[in-house]
Amino acid sequence: MERETADQLETLHPDAFGWALHCCSGDLSRAEDVLQNAYLKAASGQVQFSGASTFKTWWFGVIRLTALEEFRRQRYRDSLLAKLWSRWTGDSTDPSPNPARRVELDEQSATLRRALSQLPNRQAEVLHLVFYQDLSLREAAAVMKVGLGSARQHYERGKAKLRTLLTPSPEAPHET
């Protein structure tokens, strides 16, 4: 891998982890796996930056694709056959994130993540890319592999719904 590419990856690493975390629905251990697999793809030359978009847009697209692949593998692992196999071989893994790291997320962040998880996937993706990653709508559309108009529609609907979800309901029962 070229030195310049490696430097760009290092600079983007924290945000790339945040994006991987979003793609993995907040699962820290899966996000780490996804990110390492994406780095492996880049290091072994399976994916190469062609310059057709910004480096960040390209890299986030790679991470998104890797997360989808990981999701398919995870679905297989969660299947009944795989569960039986792991029980027979005695190989069981805990899918929940490390508790020591979970406490590092403050309550407001957890609230936002919960709200995002209630949005349709596309809406949550575009909001994350725009507000969290500071991408433009056009760049977000490129990462999501959708048209600009579609991305804008997801963005507007997502914002409205997220505000509703984040606003505490006055009718919510209070604990005494």
């Binding site: 891998m1 590419t5 490696a6 990856l9 290092e10 690493h13 924290p14 945000d15 982890f17 945040g18 975390l21 820290l28 780490e32 990110l35 390492q36 780095y39 492996l40 880049a42 290091a43 072994s44 030359g45 399976q46 790291r101 590092e104 997320l105 403050d106 407001q108 962040s109 936002l112 993540r113 909001l127 994350h128 507000f131 969290y132 914002k159 997220l162 505000r163 984040l166």
Partner: protein, 118 residues
């Protein structure tokens, strides 16, 4: 006031928390694996391996069928094989057991074993 500043604030907090939780950067991640070329070869999709195996089997069967063209026309074995036994031998089948004095190979025997027959 910046539009959507409320959402920006929420996401900024989430971003900060994620950065704390992010694993430290490891320069090894950007180095190509030692066996990248070999792995690239072995990481063919399963269907490609299956197709290659099927093609190899078909080629092997084709080569075998071309190599043995006389398989269909079986030869007349009675004519093809040589005759091992003579049905009417001119000499007796077994040599005569009668002893006829000294043999040429007697010189190879030790002296004390050489029995002079009357």
């Amino acid at each position: 006031m910046k539009p959507d500043s409320d959402l920006h604030d929420h996401f900024a907090r989430l971003r900060h928390a994620d950065h704390i939780a992010a694993p430290a950067w490891n320069p090894r991640w950007t180095r190509p694996p030692a066996s990248a070329a070999r792995e690239g070869l072995l990481q063919l999709p399963g269907w490609q391996w299956a197709t290659a195996a099927l093609a190899a089997v078909v080629l092997a069967m084709l080569a075998l069928s071309l190599r043995d063209p006389g398989k269909q026309a079986s030869p007349n074995l009675a004519q093809a094989l040589p005759e091992f036994f003579d049905s009417s031998p001119s000499d007796p089948l077994f040599a005569d057991l009668g002893l006829t004095g000294a043999q040429p190979s007697d010189a190879l025997l030790p002296l004390h074993l050489t029995i002079a027959l009357p």
